[in-house]
């Protein structure tokens, strides 16, 4: 099916909405990076448990949840105005 022609440039509000979607798509990538990062800290490719690690993981977790919450409200309110898929 041929796609309908879409405008090349957008006004401010739709532009922001689209970037928000980009951010929502990038979030799991950021999450995967942060959650795999500690593997590089471990000596001899092995990792042992310390309280610092526990705190690190839970902080990253909270960060991801917070960002997802911020994005979700924006994505939901922007939904339906223009049903695009890219």
């Amino acid at each position: 099916m041929r796609r309908p022609k879409r405008p090349l440039f957008l006004a401010r509000a739709p532009y922001r909405r689209r970037r928000l979607r980009d951010a929502a798509r990038l979030l799991p990538v950021l999450g995967a990076f942060l959650l795999l990062l500690p593997l590089l800290w471990a000596p001899e490719s092995r990792m042992s448990l310390s309280s610092g690690d526990v705190i690190y993981f839970f902080s990253v977790w909270l960060l991801l949840i917070g960002l997802a919450a911020v994005f979700a409200s924006g994505l939901r309110s922007g939904d339906g105005t223009d049903e695009e898929e890219d």
Partner: protein, 893 residues
């Protein structure tokens, strides 16, 4: 804690769940769900991801492998915060196509193939059975903890008996609320709400135990941190491969687990709920794992060596004498196990009944069109639920609650993850085909069974020990735990790597090499482009289906109370009375969608196909749509071109009309003028001739008057000559005397002749004589006439103080141009279009006797000579360009 009290609490809790489900079902029947359809309930229902394995097992996992247990939650967290990628599309597809299970989704995507439905069902059942057994085992174990903790130890507890009772109770609950009715969409409000309640119970229980451990036993957060650092770390080591692999595995599982798919996609009420769950569900997971590490550390420290760390959640409070807290923890674990089993068995029962039992039934009883299929489907569901639970129990019984069960969680995850390539390929890649999906799924299933599922029973149990040591049939590279010689890998990572790699390979190769059928391509486009609205042609051409037969079939599946209104509204929409609409393609599509919500896409498709009696859409239909849309595009392009052409023509017409109006005005003006022109000489001729007839006039006066009369008569003649000349030229009846003549000579003659016009003005003429030495083959007299006219006009109208006339001759490509440019102020732009019209004269200020015919005559002459005369703007004055051919080709006639 008295054991009876525990059983009583259990019964009370279950009764409470029954009440919740019952009340909610009642409200749903009345359509008053209200807040029960909120994102909160949706998010909480997703918590069936956390089974008893995570409730009890996470602590044990942490005690054995340190932080690795977190990866089980990280995968789902990443999938949910990345909901915009995948889950959003999955939910949209599920809603749009009334998907009833993950097997239905796969089958529907790949051309409503029931074969695929059966394969996915098989994978799901095989993977889920040990998992259900694990839940039963956890309940039995937790009962056992209390039994052994009882002071008198009087009650000898048979674990098998408990397992039977639990399985039977769960089956009863699930059948009661899971198969109450055959919904248009497979939704179960009562069960979902009960699951949400259980989610709260298990969270509260775990948080309560955790808080007790941190603040009650350890003495605060700082203490706990100190203990974590002080704990023996030797065993707590994680290999990066496992860390990454299990994260990926749990991410795949959260998408593909039948129970997750059931609550996430099938039971979804509103896509907006998913946005909320995208952060709320990870938050729930985080809360669930917040106290795991403290419980594990404190448990290891406090409990006697050899205590089962899987039961720390229960044994720690019991050891500290907190019976109430232990009871709460027990209920939490019980909730985790029951909610998982309930939803899993509903999801599996839907798959089994829609993809295995109903197709079989329809095939076996092809003639029996009159039975109420609803009852059959419901009965099939009930049997399937009972069968699933019986399988789980059987597995538990056979495995004897061995320690092998503990590791079955990841094995089951890996089993359902085999669906992932077909699922992702199906919704993101239009090129994925049915054959590819079948190949991928079967390959994945076989490799998974060989490298992970069967070895999980232990060497010698299913696979002989010789196979482990020497490989299948003695092929060393076929050893189940080191396929192709990969010896260094962790078993689960080894199985993950090989099963997924070979699965994806088979899937892609199969898809690339095969050609999909028309329904498959249609479904592929509809799934991949789900956000772009309706795609493709309707699935049914207008067939031979009898409306009555269709109604009969719909009634069998939907029931009379739903089917009749559906048909009636369609009939009304078609402008017909009664209940029997025409079987239009659109109606057949809508009916199929409605039926597939109850019995799955493949069965609904097959049933309608039976009545319609022909293959549905064909490749030709698809191509027709493609060429149709191409035609529409071309047609609209043509329309557009046509429209611009019309606009242009309309503009030209408007211009022409304006010109005509002006000319008509000019003509009127000229008529009045010519009468004036004719009248002025006539008046003076009459007056002077009257004076002459009176006689007695001095001879010199007679002579003067005579000359005046003569002049006026000449003027009249000239005017009439011009008019005649013009009419002759216009009619093309002019006689040309064509001969060779020098251009220079003609210009000389013209300059001399034109000197008669306003002889008092001194005119400077600028010429370039060498360029004028051209001999033309033309009518020299006529051309000279044009030159005279142009030069005279310049003499007449040039208003410069020191008038100049520049004559420039150019010769190019068989044509000669002669420019006459003066240094006056030229001709106004809006008049330029009119000066060559007849009777036009720009200003009356300089009218020197002409009648406004000069330039019109020039134009006609030039046309007759095969050339043209035009006004050239922007030359610093009035500029006329005469173009003549070097050689005038006289017509043969």
């Amino acid at each position: 804690m008295p054991f009876n009290l525990l059983v009583l609490a259990c019964f009370l809790y279950v009764a409470f769940l029954f009440t919740v489900a019952f009340v909610v079902e009642g409200r749903a029947a009345k359509g008053r769900l209200g807040w029960l359809r909120s994102p909160l309930v949706y998010t909480l229902s997703l918590s069936i991801y956390c089974t008893a394995w995570t409730f009890y097992g996470a602590v044990g996992y942490a005690a054995r492998s340190g932080l690795e247990f977190l990866t089980i939650y990280f995968g789902p967290t990443l999938v949910f915060v990345g909901w915009w990628w995948l889950l959003r599309k999955l939910v949209r597809i599920g809603r749009q196509h009334r998907v009833t299970s993950i097997a239905d989704l796969i089958s529907s995507r790949y051309g409503k193939s029931n074969t695929l439905g059966v394969i996915v069902t098989l994978i799901a059942v095989v993977a889920a059975t040990p998992y259900i057994a694990l839940q039963l085992q956890s309940v039995v174990l937790s009962f056992g903890v209390f039994a052994s903790a009882a002071p008198d130890g009087s009650r000898p507890l048979d674990p098998g008996q408990i397992a039977v009772w639990v399985a039977a109770g769960l089956a009863f609950f699930t059948i009661l609320f899971g198969t109450r009715n055959l919904d248009a969409r497979e939704q179960h409000h009562g069960i979902v709400t009960a699951i949400a309640v259980e989610a709260v119970v298990k969270l509260v229980a775990l948080l309560a135990v955790g808080s007790f451990v941190v603040w009650g036993i350890a003495g605060g957060v700082a203490e706990v941190i100190a203990r974590i650092d002080a704990a023996d770390l030797a065993a707590w080591q994680v290999a990066p491969g496992r860390w990454t692999g299990i994260t990926v595995l749990s991410a795949a599982a959260v998408i593909c687990l039948p129970r997750m798919f059931q609550v996430m996609v099938v039971e979804n009420e509103d896509e907006g709920h998913l946005a909320r769950a995208s952060w709320a569900f990870p938050l729930y997971l985080m809360a669930m794992s917040l106290f795991i590490v403290p419980i594990a550390v404190v448990g290891l420290e406090r409990m006697p060596a050899g205590a089962n760390p899987d039961m720390f959640v229960l044994t720690l409070p019991l050891a500290e004498g907190r019976g109430g807290l232990a009871m709460l923890a027990f209920l939490g674990g019980f909730s985790s196990a029951t909610s998982m089993v309930i939803v899993e068995s509903i999801a599996l029962a839907t798959m089994i009944s829609n993809h295995v039992m109903i197709p079989l039934w329809l095939r076996l009883r092809a003639g029996a069109a009159e039975d109420d299929l609803r009852q059959v489907v419901l009965m099939a569901r009930r049997l399937a639920i009972a069968a699933v639970l019986a399988l789980g129990y059987g597995y538990y019984h056979v495995s004897g609650g061995s320690a092998a069960l503990a590791s079955i969680g990841l094995v089951a995850f890996l089993g359902v993850a085999q669906v992932l390539p077909a699922l992702l390929g199906g919704i993101f890649w239009r090129g994925a085909t049915r054959t590819g999906a079948i190949l991928g799924l079967v390959t994945g299933l076989v490799v998974w069974a060989y490298t992970s599922f069967l070895p999980s029973f232990g060497p010698g149990a299913v696979l002989p020990e010789a196979v482990f040591a020497e490989g299948l049939l003695g092929f060393g590279w076929l050893r189940p735990l080191s396929l192709f010689g990969t010896e260094a890998m962790d078993p689960i990572i080894h199985a993950l790597f090989w099963s997924m790699a070979l699965n994806v390979l088979a899937f892609c190769a199969g898809s690339l090499l095969t050609f999909p059928g028309p329904v498959e391509r249609l479904q592929g486009a509809a799934f991949v482009n789900v956000f772009e609205g309706a795609v493709g042609p309707q699935r049914w051409a207008r067939g031979r289906a009898e409306p009555e037969a269709l109604l009969g079939m719909a009634q069998r599946i939907l029931g009379e109370e739903l089917a009749l209104p559906l048909f009636q509204s369609e009939a009304r929409a078609q402008g017909k009375e009664g209940f029997l609409p025409d079987p239009t393609p659109g109606f057949l599509d809508a009916l199929e969608a409605r039926l597939s919500g109850s019995v799955g896409a493949a069965t609904a498709h097959a049933m309608i196909g039976q009545l319609v009696g022909r293959a549905t859409v064909t490749v030709e239909d698809l191509m027709a749509v493609a060429s149709e849309s191409a035609q529409i595009l071309e047609y609209s392009a043509r329309l557009e071109a046509r429209e611009t052409e019309l606009t242009r023509t309309a503009g030209a017409l408007r211009e022409a009309n304006e010109k005509l109006m002006q000319i008509s005005l000019q003509k009127d003006a000229f008529l009045s003028q010519i009468s004036h022109e004719l009248r002025t000489p006539m008046t003076s001729i009459r007056a002077f001739s009257e004076i002459l007839t009176e006689g007695d006039l001095p001879p010199d006066l007679v002579m003067r008057y005579g000359r005046i009369i003569h002049d006026e008569a000449k003027r009249l003649t000239r005017l009439l000559d011009d008019l005649l000349d013009l009419s002759v030229l216009e009619n093309g009846a002019v006689q040309l005397t064509v001969g060779l003549a020098s251009l220079q000579g003609m210009i000389d003659t013209a300059l001399t002749a034109a000197r008669a016009t306003r002889p008092e003005r001194e005119f400077q003429v600028i010429r370039d004589l060498p360029s004028e030495t051209i001999y033309l083959k033309t009518d020299a007299d006529r051309l000279t006439q044009v030159f005279i006219n142009l030069i005279s006009n310049a003499r007449k109208y040039c208003d410069a103080a020191r008038p100049e006339l520049r004559i420039a001759v150019r010769h190019k490509g068989g044509r000669v141009t002669v420019d006459f440019v003066d240094n006056g102020k030229g001709i106004a732009k809006d008049s330029q279009a009119l000066i060559f019209e007849k009777f036009s004269r720009l200003t009356d200020a300089n009218r020197a006797g002409g009648a406004g015919l000069g330039l019109a005559i020039c134009r006609e002459i030039m046309q007759n000579l095969g050339g043209s005369v035009a006004y050239v703007p922007g030359q610093g004055g009035a500029a006329f360009r005469v173009t003549v051919p070097l050689r005038l080709e006289t017509l043969a006639a």
